[in-house]
């Protein structure tokens, strides 16, 4: 039976809804255990100083604080919706901090941690969820594309951008983010094909957080997602997405490989969405509480804290300082949100085209005179 092997028997199962324990995953790259123990991996050495370690902890803690504050603001009616990154901080900070200045990241709608690592002002993300704009930051200057809500569409953008990098002969790479659900979109698979065919310097970073809204990963794939890549002719790797060090190391290696012209890599960051899909979602409808409890033991921040404390690389004063900084950040976010001015109505007419059309200019004028009419009437 070599010709028609039953592939499904050869691979480790993917845990899903209600699965109480993670199976042993021989392929999973890990450098920091859930208990906070530093381990080595033959392929992914990571030289990292104490400052950098503490900086990673700070990143993780602050983006979580931001996330908590945004969730609260949504509950209070200040944001239309919020897509929480709770539980995925390590995947996002690890990937975000692996990026070089000239690299370009292509996020979905949940990559607040990557945004943070790229230097995006949290308020520029908040303004999107508040409904003020469709993303307030400068994607070109920050090397961080605008959020893309249509599932998977950004994977082709990243690949095309990488083809541009090639043509420029630049020492850079593109990093495409996607979810586990997104792997089912045809366009995503086309991106894998393009990347492979053109040896594009792009890395696909898939956060397998086990769910696409309510749909568990088993519905998207019966085999681990990282195995998808081989059939398209390039390597895939599964990393513990709750281990910031492993994510950093694996993403760095993949980006380096891309920059040096060796083509794409598919990274599956194995993680868990600890919160709801968005603030509009009710996960109690489709998953058991026990699952979350299980994953709490693998919290991406707790393990870094444990490691830092136990190894003496950080003390209580450091953690207190980060907490205080988090509180300040939260205050800044809250204040900035509440003070955010509403956009002017004319905004919607002003950016449809680079070269304004007479039609839209006329509608803009009508819009202004229509509203002026009301003001007149009210006086």
């Amino acid at each position: 039976m070599t010709a028609v092997p039953d592939v499904r028997e050869m691979v480790d199962p993917v845990p899903g809804a209600g699965a109480p324990h993670l199976p042993a995953q021989p392929d999973l790259v890990q450098l920091l255990t859930p208990e906070g123990e530093r381990v080595e991996h033959p392929d992914y050495a990571l030289e990292i100083g104490d400052d950098e370690l503490r900086a990673l902890y700070r990143d993780l803690a602050l983006v979580r604080r931001w996330d908590v504050e945004a969730t609260a603001l949504q509950r209070q009616g200040e944001l239309g919706i919020w897509a929480s990154l709770l539980g995925q901080e390590a995947a996002q900070i690890g990937a975000g901090r692996a990026l070089g200045a000239d690299d370009m990241a292509f996020p979905t709608y949940r990559e607040h941690g990557v945004a943070w690592a790229r230097g995006v002002d949290p308020l520029h993300v908040i303004s999107l969820f508040r409904g003020n704009d469709l993303g307030g930051w400068d994607p070109v200057q920050l090397g961080f594309n605008l959020y893309t809500v249509v599932i998977g569409a950004q994977c082709l953008h990243a690949t095309g951008y990488a083809m541009g990098i090639q043509r420029d002969g630049a020492d850079a790479a593109a990093l495409a983010f996607l979810g586990d659900g997104a792997t089912s979109q045809g366009e995503v698979n086309e991106a894998l094909i393009w990347a492979s065919t053109f040896d594009a310097p792009v890395v696909f970073f898939c956060q397998n957080n086990q769910y696409a809204i309510s749909v568990p990963i088993e519905r998207q794939s019966k085999v681990p997602l990282f195995q998808r890549a081989a059939g398209f002719g390039f390597p895939g790797v599964r990393v513990d997405g709750n281990d910031v060090l492993a994510v950093l190391a694996v993403t760095r290696a993949a980006l380096a490989r891309a920059r040096e012209g060796s083509g794409p890599t598919f990274i599956e960051a194995f993680t868990y969405r600890m919160g709801a899909h968005t603030t509009s979602d009710d996960p109690t409808r489709y998953r058991l509480a026990g699952e979350l409890e299980e994953w709490k033991l693998r919290d991406p921040i707790a393990r870094v804290k444990a490691y830092l404390s136990r190894s003496g690389k950080a003390d209580a004063a450091f953690f207190d300082a980060v907490d205080a900084e988090g509180d300040e950040l939260a205050v800044r976010i809250r204040k900035g949100t509440l003070e955010m001015p509403d956009p002017a109505g004319t905004e919607m007419f002003d950016h449809v085209y680079a070269e304004q059309t007479e039609e839209i200019a006329a509608q803009r004028a009508d819009f202004l005179s229509y509203h002026a009419g009301f003001e007149g009437a009210e006086q």
Binding site: S184, R285, M348
Partner: protein
């Protein structure tokens, strides 16, 4: 008689259709345990099982393409598209396959597929969650397109769409999902592809469908205090159009305004204006005017109230029509 929200009426309509015909299969993202992001399929997987209420992988072309195959095998798939803005990955299957297979096969392969799309704005959502793509489908020969505006129509029209032997794109006004009304479950409903006068009037004919019917009725009400008598027609069917009642009305009123949320340029209003002008040319005192979304990209939600036609903008255009 029972009081239902529009969303619940759809849920009941689906349940009834599934009871009536074992070949009805629901497909979509998150429609199983979750009951859909708007809970329109709430409880149906529990009662009808996973083979009839299918939580699909996350790919709209996959949903529509497999629905085609199921239809070829004698099933009646009802596909849920989670939001209006996410129908486009399925566009190729819809336009080149669903819409053409009946003609391609000269009737040997009917395509009784219903494509449910929650559409329109006004719910404060992020990008792609507030679009009104109905014209893309109405322009596509081989599809039929309807839009519901109230719970009773939701209940009946959904069942009729599912029973229809042709593919029907079924637009649901998401911001009216929570609107309640009395629904008589025992009447026999009007034909699916028919429009309906929902308010009589003499001075102007106001056309609307989906979420804008309520707005149109409010406008007509408000105009009454200004002494204007406005007839409101709920188009209900967008392709084919049922313009008989419209023409009858316009011949009396001499004035016509069409309102929809979709961008005005090449929206349904264009076709209706062209046809009504042709058929009622000598009765028209004014050109058929349109109130639609501006021809701009759907704006961030803080601006949507300014983008969407509302009572005031409707009245503004009604006044223009009256002034001709």
């Amino acid at each position: 008689m029972t009081t239902l929200t529009l969303g619940k009426a759809l849920n009941n309509g689906l349940r009834k259709a599934m009871e009536d015909d074992p070949k009805v299969v629901l497909m979509g993202e998150d429609i199983g345990k979750l009951g859909g992001v708007f809970r329109i399929t709430d409880g149906l997987q529990k009662d009808f099982g996973e083979a009839r209420v299918v939580d699909t992988p996350l790919a709209e072309a996959g949903i529509l393409g497999t629905a085609v195959g199921l239809a070829m095998r004698g099933y009646r798939p009802v596909c849920e598209i989670q939001f209006d803005g996410f129908v486009f990955p399925a566009y190729n299957q819809i336009v080149t396959q669903v819409a053409k297979i009946h003609a391609r096969s000269r009737g040997r392969l009917p395509m009784p597929i219903t494509i449910r799309i929650p559409f329109g704005g006004g719910i404060g959502a992020v990008e792609h969650h507030s679009e009104s793509p109905e014209a893309y489908f109405a322009h596509t020969t081989g599809l039929k397109v309807v839009a519901v505006s109230n719970p009773a129509d939701a209940y009946w029209m959904l069942q009729q769409a599912i029973a229809c032997p042709d593919p029907v794109v079924f637009f649901e006004p998401k911001r009216r999902y929570w609107d309640k009304a009395e629904v008589d479950l025992d009447v026999s409903p009007p034909p699916l592809f028919s429009s309906r006068v929902v308010r009589a009037g003499d001075d102007l004919t106001l056309l609307a469908y989906g979420p804008m019917v309520k707005t149109a009725l409010q406008a007509a009400q408000a105009a009454e205090s200004d002494g204007q008598s406005i007839e409101v027609i709920d188009l209900r069917t967008l392709s084919p159009l049922d313009l008989g009642p419209v023409e009858e009305s316009v011949r009396r009123t001499g004035r016509c305004v069409v309102v929809h949320e979709a961008q005005t340029n090449l929206g349904l209003g264009a076709e209706i204006a062209a046809r009504v002008t042709e058929s009622c040319f000598h009765s028209l005192e004014a050109p058929v005017l349109r109130v639609g979304g501006y021809d701009v990209t759907y704006p961030p939600s803080k601006l949507e109230e300014e983008y969407l036609p509302d009572l005031d903008r409707v009245l503004h255009v009604v006044d223009r029509a009256m002034g001709f």
